[in-house]
Amino acid sequence: MNPTIVKLALQALLGRRRFWLLLAFPILLVGLVAVLAAFTDAEAAWTVLPALGYPLVLPLVAILAASSVLGPEIDDGSIVYLLAKPVNRHSVAVSKWLVALVATLVAGSLPLLLAGLFTGDIARAVALSVAAVVAGTTYSALFLAISAVTRHAVVASLMFVLIWEGLLGNLFSGVAWLSVGQWGLRIGHEISDQLPDPANLVWACLASLVVTVGGVWFAGDRLRSFSLRGED
């Protein structure tokens, strides 16, 4: 980890307009759940979380965070200013990931806990937030890796979330074995059985770990081979 890279990544995250979008989603979610819990019953409010909060808001926040810390700098080539330094590329990737991770946990996982608490069942809320911490960690590493490979990282990440995990995940139960969100839910299931049990627990833990470590390592490896393409 490199404190200067962390500081710059934080400044990049906070200095962009995208950051307010990042905050808007969780605030709207918590507001919606709070209103539903107050005016209808807590169970109706809860359904928003597994249907909208967990599968959509959490990965969206992770996408915005991961792509803000790395994407623009790679896009416009200004990352050369960070890379023309005797700094290990993997420590650059780890530093950027840590910033994306903290942003995802604060703006993605924490609001899920808060919203869950509004619906009464504390064990259930804690279980969901544990799932969100696991999935948020994995998502941020995966999306960081995607940001390091393609200029269309946001679109590619959205496709993964919406089409693979969302659409296909609902149609075919087998997709759960290759779905970051489902791995998190499986781990959360250990705390409260109100959460589904889509895959094997050991598999969910191992897969989350492998994707997290692999994603950050891969991003670092891509940075080692970062090429500056001239206009000519």
């Binding site: 890279i5 500081k7 200004s78 050369v80 200013y81 700094v87 970062f226 090429s227 500056l228």
Partner: protein
């Protein structure tokens, strides 16, 4: 003292060859990398700074390959052509971040020292997105110099910089070269390179076209056959006079114009008024028809 050596370096992107079998050695002092736009200067600099792998051949700094060698950046300062996109940082924060990334023992002092060198102390507290093009160029140079590198690589450093600041930058680079650093800058403007560089490397269409001190390069360029268009009181008589001169290679009458191809520009320019006078001819117009840099480069390549 550091030396960059390129040994039979080529780089292609798909079917496009950007750099074609270039071998050169860049040593201490200021070297200019001269070539028209699209000649492969940026590609060469990217390979020298470790931001592009050569497709074939070797790029080495003091004997060690640069590609995927992060330690090389202890010696290299790089000023890319790219715009800074750290608009949310102040000039001081940006330079300081560069110093910190180099883990300099006294990063704060190094930052202030280099801001002074590039004459940016006063605006250093302002955000980068308020800077003029020349100021951004200087803050990029400050960031590249903050760790006191032995090699400084600059891609088109004078682009968009106003004349006063250009002088200032040139003085700075000249001083760095005199201190024994290896300074390499690219440019497509001959006069710029001539004024600053002791040594010039010319690249055209990805090929290494010429190499030498500025005198030799200037000589190569002025000794090439140059085309002139002449208007005179009697073009045919003038043609007869000119073709007798050893400095003239060819003469062509075309409409009411006389086209002359000159080999030795010096003796032609010196002799022409006298030849016209001796034969009672009046010269109305003399204009070079291909003085563009492109034609100079084309000549160097065809040679």
């Amino acid at each position: 003292m550091s030396t960059i050596v390129l040994d039979s370096v080529s780089r292609w992107f798909g079917n496009v060859v950007a750099v074609n079998d270039v071998s050169l050695t860049i040593g201490p002092g200021v070297t200019g990398l001269l070539g028209p736009n699209g000649a492969g200067k940026t590609t060469l600099l990217a390979m020298m700074s470790g931001f592009l792998a050569p497709s074939s051949g070797q790029v080495a700094l003091d004997g060690r390959p640069v590609w995927r060698n992060t330690d090389a950046y202890r010696q290299i300062g790089l000023v890319p052509e790219r715009e800074l996109s750290f608009g949310y940082l102040t000039g001081r924060q940006f330079v300081r971040a560069n110093a910190d990334l180099h883990r300099l023992p006294d990063a704060a002092a190094a930052t202030e020292r280099i801001l002074e060198v590039v004459d940016l102390v006063e605006p250093a507290g302002r955000r980068l997105d308020t800077y003029s093009k020349g100021m951004r160029q200087r803050v990029k140079i400050a960031a590249a110099l903050v760790h006191d590198p032995s090699v400084l690589l600059l891609d088109e450093p004078f682009n968009g910089v106003d004349p006063r600041q250009r002088m200032h930058l040139m003085d700075l680079l000249r001083r760095l070269g005199e201190e024994g650093r290896t300074v390499l800058f690219s440019s497509h403007i001959l006069e710029e390179v001539e004024r600053l560089a002791r040594h010039i490397e010319v690249v055209v269409s990805g090929r290494h076209a010429a190499s030498g001190d500025f005198g030799a390069i200037r000589q190569l360029m002025t000794d090439r056959p140059v085309q002139y268009t002449l208007h005179s009181s009697d073009n045919r008589a003038l043609a007869a006079v000119l073709i007798a001169q050893p400095s003239v290679r060819a003469v062509q009458l075309r409409g009411d114009e006389l086209h002359v191809q000159v080999d030795d520009l010096g003796s032609f320019a010196l002799g022409l008024p006298a030849w016209a006078q001796q034969h009672d001819l009046t010269l109305f117009e003399l204009s070079p028809s291909d003085e563009s840099l492109e034609s100079v480069f084309a000549y160097l390549v065809a040679r």
